[in-house]
C-alpha cells in the first residue's frame, strides 16, 4: 500500500465516482473499467451506445447490458442503426477530429454523422414543476446541499419553472458551489432524484418524468385550469344545481355568478363578496397568501376568503359550492336565516362535477430540459472552419441530436440547444471535475455538405467498420416518439 504522501503524482487523478477512490494514471482506467483518465480529465468510458431502429416499434428503451451476449449477429443495416455520442469520448482540445465520424447510406443518400461527447461549461437545466403550491418567491436562490445552484424563475400554466446551473454557478462561485451544481445538473440530466430547497420557500424532491414532492407532499395532479378557466369549463354543469360557485386559486379565483360564463347562462346575483383584488368580472387576484393549501393558497378553511354576503341580494338557503382548481378540496354551504354560510354534505348532484374537475387534471410531473452551448471549440472536431458548422446548423443542413434525441436550437448566435432528457438513453450524461457536464452530441448531414463545410473527410469511417467493434458497444432501442436521426428528409441539401 503506497503511502498517501507519495500520491498523487503528476498526471494522476483521483476518481470520486465510488468509495474505492482510485488513483488513475493518464491513459488508464480505474478498477471499474468505467472511469478513466483522459489527458488529465476524468471521463466515463462506458461502451458506446448504438441506437437500433429495427427494435423500435413499441419496444421501450432498454439498454442491452450484456452487450457481448445480446448481440444477435445480424448484419448492420445502415439506415436502421445510428451511433450516438454516449460514451464516444472526446478529443479535447478540440482541434483534433471528433472521436467518430461515421458515414452511412440512407435511402440512397450518403450521410455523415460526427459523433462526440462535448464538455459543457456553459450548460444548465430548466425544470418545469407541475404544481400550484407556492415554491418560493421569484428570483430567490435554489439550493442543493446548501449551495446555490440556480433560481426560481417564472410561474407558468399549472407549473413553476426553475432555472439551474449556467456558467456562473458552475465556475463563478466557490469550488463547492461549482461541484454541487455539477452534481445536481448531472443527476437531473440522468433522470435521477434531487432535493432542492428554495430560499424562503419550499423543499422539493424532483426527477425527470416523476411527480414532484413539495414539502414531503407528493403532487398528484395538475390543476384543470386557473379558477376563472374552471368556471368557464364547468359553468353549464353547475347551472341550476347550485346558486354560486367559487373556484379557489392563488392566481385567479373565479366566481360563477359574476363571471361572464355565469352571466351568459343567466345565473342570478348572489350578493357574494370575497377578499382579494377584482381583476375583471368574476375574476379575483390575491384572495389569500400563496401556500400549500386550497388551490395554491395558504388557506385550509375556505370561508376565510369570504366577506359577509350583501343583505337584500343574498337569500336564506342560498347554495354555495367552493372547490379548488384540482378538485382535491371542496366544501358545500347553505346560508342560514342570518345569511351566514353553514357547511353541509355535498349533494349528490354536485359530486360528479367535482369529480370531473379531478378527472380533467393531468398527472403532475417534473420535466427537465438540458440546455448547453455547442457553439464553442468542439466545432473544430467537426470542421476546420467552425463558423461554417454553426451556419449549416442554422440553415438546417445539419441536424443536431443529443444521444439520438431531437434538440431545439435557440435562434440567434451560437449552437445553443435544449433537449428533453427523458427522450435520451439513460445515464447519457457524465461530468469532468472542471466542473463541467459531458453530454453526447451528434451532427448529421449529407456527405457532400460535410465536404463543403471543410469536414475531416480523411477520418470518415463506414458504419459497418465501426459495428465490428461490437464488444465496445451497447445497443439500445430508439424511443418511438423520437424522429429517427438519420431520416434524410429534414436536413435539406445545399445542392438542391
Amino acid at each position: 500500500m503506497p503511502s498517501a504522501g507519495e500520491l498523487p503524482v503528476v498526471d494522476t487523478i483521483r476518481c470520486d465516482a465510488c468509495p474505492v477512490l482510485c488513483y488513475i494514471k493518464r491513459g488508464n482506467a480505474g478498477a471499474c473499467d468505467r472511469y478513466a483518465n483522459h489527458e488529465g480529465q476524468l471521463v466515463r468510458v462506458d461502451p458506446h451506445i448504438v441506437l437500433d431502429r429495427a427494435k423500435t416499434q413499441g419496444t421501450p428503451l432498454v439498454p442491452f447490458l450484456d452487450r457481448e451476449r445480446e448481440w444477435d449477429g445480424n448484419l448492420v443495416k445502415d439506415s436502421e442503426t445510428f451511433i450516438t455520442a454516449i460514451g464516444a469520448g472526446t478529443t479535447y482540445p478540440d482541434y483534433k477530429p471528433a472521436p467518430f465520424i461515421v458515414s452511412s447510406e440512407v435511402e440512397g443518400v450518403d450521410m455523415v454523422t460526427v459523433v462526440t461527447e462535448g464538455i459543457f461549461s456553459y450548460c444548465g437545466v430548466k425544470l418545469k414543476i407541475d404544481t400550484d403550491r407556492h415554491l418560493g418567491p421569484e428570483c430567490n436562490l435554489v439550493r442543493a446541499q446548501g449551495e446555490p445552484v440556480g433560481h426560481v424563475t417564472t410561474g407558468e400554466y399549472g407549473s413553476q419553472m426553475l432555472s439551474l446551473g449556467g456558467v456562473r454557478h458552475l465556475t463563478g462561485g466557490t469550488k463547492s458551489e461549482g461541484r454541487v451544481t455539477c452534481e445536481t445538473l448531472l443527476n437531473l440530466s440522468n433522470r435521477k432524484e434531487v432535493e432542492l430547497t428554495i430560499d424562503e420557500g419550499a423543499t422539493v424532491v424532483v426527477a425527470a418524468g416523476k411527480p414532484p414532492v413539495v414539502n414531503n407532499q407528493r403532487e398528484e395532479r395538475m390543476r384543470v385550469g386557473c379558477g376563472s378557466a374552471t368556471i368557464g369549463m364547468f359553468a353549464k354543469q353547475w347551472f341550476g344545481k347550485v346558486d354560486d360557485v367559487i373556484v379557489v386559486d392563488d392566481h385567479i379565483t373565479g366566481v360563477l355568478s359574476e363571471h361572464q360564463a355565469g352571466k351568459l347562462l343567466g345565473v342570478r346575483d348572489t350578493g357574494i363578496r370575497i377578499n382579494g383584488r377584482r381583476s375583471t368580472a368574476g375574476r379575483y387576484f390575491q384572495v389569500a397568501q400563496p401556500g400549500s393549501g386550497w388551490g395554491g393558497t395558504n388557506i385550509s378553511d375556505p370561508l376565510t376568503i369570504l366577506k359577509p354576503f350583501k343583505p337584500g341580494i343574498a337569500w336564506p338557503r342560498l347554495r354555495l359550492l367552493m372547490v379548488s382548481t384540482t378538485g382535491e378540496q371542496y366544501a358545500y354551504f347553505e346560508l342560514d336565516d342570518n345569511l351566514r354560510p353553514v357547511e353541509k354534505e355535498l349533494p349528490s348532484q354536485l359530486t360528479e362535477s367535482v369529480q370531473r374537475i379531478r378527472e380533467n387534471c393531468e398527472p403532475a410531473l417534473t420535466t427537465v430540459l438540458f440546455m448547453g452551448g455547442a457553439g464553442g471549440s468542439l466545432r473544430s472536431g467537426v470542421t476546420e472552419n467552425p463558423v461554417k458548422l454553426t451556419r449549416s446548423v442554422r440553415d438546417n443542413f445539419t441536424r443536431v441530436t443529443c444521444g439520438g434525441a431531437p434538440v431545439y436550437i435557440w435562434p440567434g448566435g451560437g449552437i445553443t440547444f435544449m433537449v428533453d432528457v427523458s427522450c435520451m438513453p439513460e445515464n447519457a450524461f457524465g461530468y469532468v471535475p472542471t466542473p463541467a457536464l459531458v453530454a453526447p452530441i451528434e451532427f448529421t448531414l449529407k456527405k457532400e455538405d460535410y465536404a463543403a463545410l471543410g469536414g475531416h473527410m480523411d477520418y470518415v469511417r463506414t458504419l459497418s467498420s465501426l459495428m465490428e467493434e461490437k464488444n465496445r458497444q451497447r445497443q439500445v432501442s430508439s424511443l418511438p416518439q423520437n424522429p429517427w436521426p438519420l431520416q434524410p428528409a429534414a436536413p435539406r441539401s445545399s445542392q438542391e
Binding site: 500500500m1 503506497p2 500520491l7 498523487p8 503524482v9 494522476t12 470520486d16 465516482a17 465510488c18 468509495p19 474505492v20 477512490l21 482510485c22 488513483y23 488513475i24 494514471k25 488508464n28 480505474g30 478498477a31 471499474c32 473499467d33 432498454v62 439498454p63 442491452f64 447490458l65 450484456d66 457481448e68 451476449r69 445480446e70 461541484r179 455539477c182 452534481e183 448531472l186 435521477k192 461530468y431 461490437k470 464488444n471
Partner: protein
C-alpha cells in the same frame, strides 16, 4: 462524486443486475415467483452497503495477508481474509484476491437465507457463487474471451458434489496477474476460496525472464494497486508448444498442492489455445477443442 448503486432487472426480466463502482453482479434465482422476488429483494437490500463496508477497511484489505495480525471487521472482509489465509505462508497474497468471490457469496447468502430457492447463482464478473437444492444441477460453460463467446469447455455441477464456487483468473482479466495464463478456472466449496486459489495458480503459470512477455510494475498502471512494485503481465508473445507445456506445468504443480490440501476440487487451464484439467481423471469438466481457439476470459452460465 459518489454514484449511487444500480439495482435493476435485465431486459430478459429474469436476471437481476447489481452494479456499484467496480462491483458488477448478474444474479438469477430459480423457484416460485414469490420466492424469487423475496430473494431479489434480499439481494438488493444487502447490496446497498457492501461496497462502502469494504472501502472502510480498504488499506487493510490491500496489505499482505497474515502479516500484521489485524482481523478485518466486516463480514465480507473477514471472508476474504479467511479465503486467502491458507496461502499466506507460501505466497504473496492480499485479501483483495478474494474480493469478487466473497461479494458473490455474501449476496447469494442473503438470497438463500431469505427465500426457498431450487437454484441460484451470483456471477461477479466470472467469479460465481452457486446454490443447488437437493437433486438440482447447473450446466456451466467456459468461454473464450468475453468478446468472442465460444465455448471451450463445460462443467456439469450436481447438488451431490461439494462445489459451490467457481472463479477464473488470468492476465487478460480485469485484475492483474503475475502469470501468463489466459485463464485458470477453479472449482471450490466457496466462491471466495475459488477466487483466491485461481489467483494463486494463475500467478504460477509463468515463464520467468521470457523475452516475449511484457511486464510492468503494477503501480505504474494503477498507483494504489495492492501488488505495488510487483511486475504484472501486460502482453504475451507467441510461445512454442514446449514453452506452453512448461508454463502450464508450473501451474499444475501448485494446483496439485491445493488439491491435496483439499482447498479446491478442480482446475482448468488455458494458455494460447492449449487446455488442461486437474485432476486429469475428472469427468465433470469437459473440454471442447477448437483449432483456432484463442484464450479464455471468463465463465458464464448457460
Amino acid at each position: 462524486m459518489r454514484q449511487p448503486p444500480i439495482i435493476r432487472m435485465l431486459p430478459d426480466q429474469r436476471r437481476l443486475h447489481l452494479h456499484d463502482g467496480p462491483i458488477d453482479l448478474i444474479v438469477e434465482a430459480f423457484g416460485s415467483r414469490a420466492e424469487i422476488r423475496t430473494a431479489y429483494e434480499a439481494a438488493a437490500r444487502r447490496f446497498l452497503t457492501i461496497l462502502d463496508e469494504l472501502c472502510a477497511e480498504l488499506p487493510l484489505l490491500r496489505s499482505p495477508a497474515g502479516t500484521n495480525g489485524v482481523t478485518p471487521r466486516g463480514v465480507v472482509a473477514r471472508r476474504m481474509a479467511d479465503a486467502v489465509g491458507p496461502f499466506a505462508a507460501q505466497h504473496f497474497i492480499t485479501p483483495m484476491a478474494a474480493v469478487a468471490g466473497a461479494v458473490a457469496e455474501e449476496i447469494l447468502g442473503a438470497m438463500t437465507t431469505a427465500a426457498n430457492l431450487s437454484r441460484a447463482y451470483v456471477n461477479n464478473g466470472g467469479d460465481i457463487a452457486l446454490h443447488l437444492a437437493a437433486g438440482e444441477s447447473f450446466q456451466i460453460g467456459m468461454i473464450e474471451r468475453p468478446d468472442r463467446p465460444s465455448l471451450f469447455g463445460s462443467i456439469k455441477l450436481h447438488a451431490s458434489q461439494p462445489t459451490r464456487g467457481i472463479a477464473t483468473s488470468g492476465w487478460r482479466g480485469r485484475s492483474f496477474s503475475l502469470g501468463i495464463a489466459d485463464a485458470v478456472t477453479v472449482l471450490a466449496e466457496r466462491a471466495a476460496m475459488a477466487d483466491a486459489a485461481a489467483t494463486i495458480i494463475a500467478n504460477e503459470v509463468d515463464l520467468p525472464n521470457h523475452p516475449a512477455i511484457v511486464r510492468v510494475p503494477a503501480r505504474e498502471i494503477a498507483p494504489d494497486n495492492d501488488l505495488g512494485e510487483r511486475l504484472v503481465t501486460r502482453a504475451v508473445g507467441e510461445l512454442t508448444p514446449g514453452e506452453i507445456v512448461q508454463a502450464l506445468h508450473s501451474g499444475v504443480v501448485v494446483a496439485r498442492q491445493l488439491l491435496s490440501r483439499g482447498l479446491i476440487y478442480a482446475v482448468a487451464f488455458r494458455l494460447q489455445g492449449q487446455s488442461r484439467v486437474e485432476p486429469q481423471a475428472l469427468r465433470m469438466m469437459t473440454l471442447i477443442h477448437h483449432p483456432d481457439a484463442e484464450s479464455v476470459g471468463s465463465v458464464l452460465h448457460v
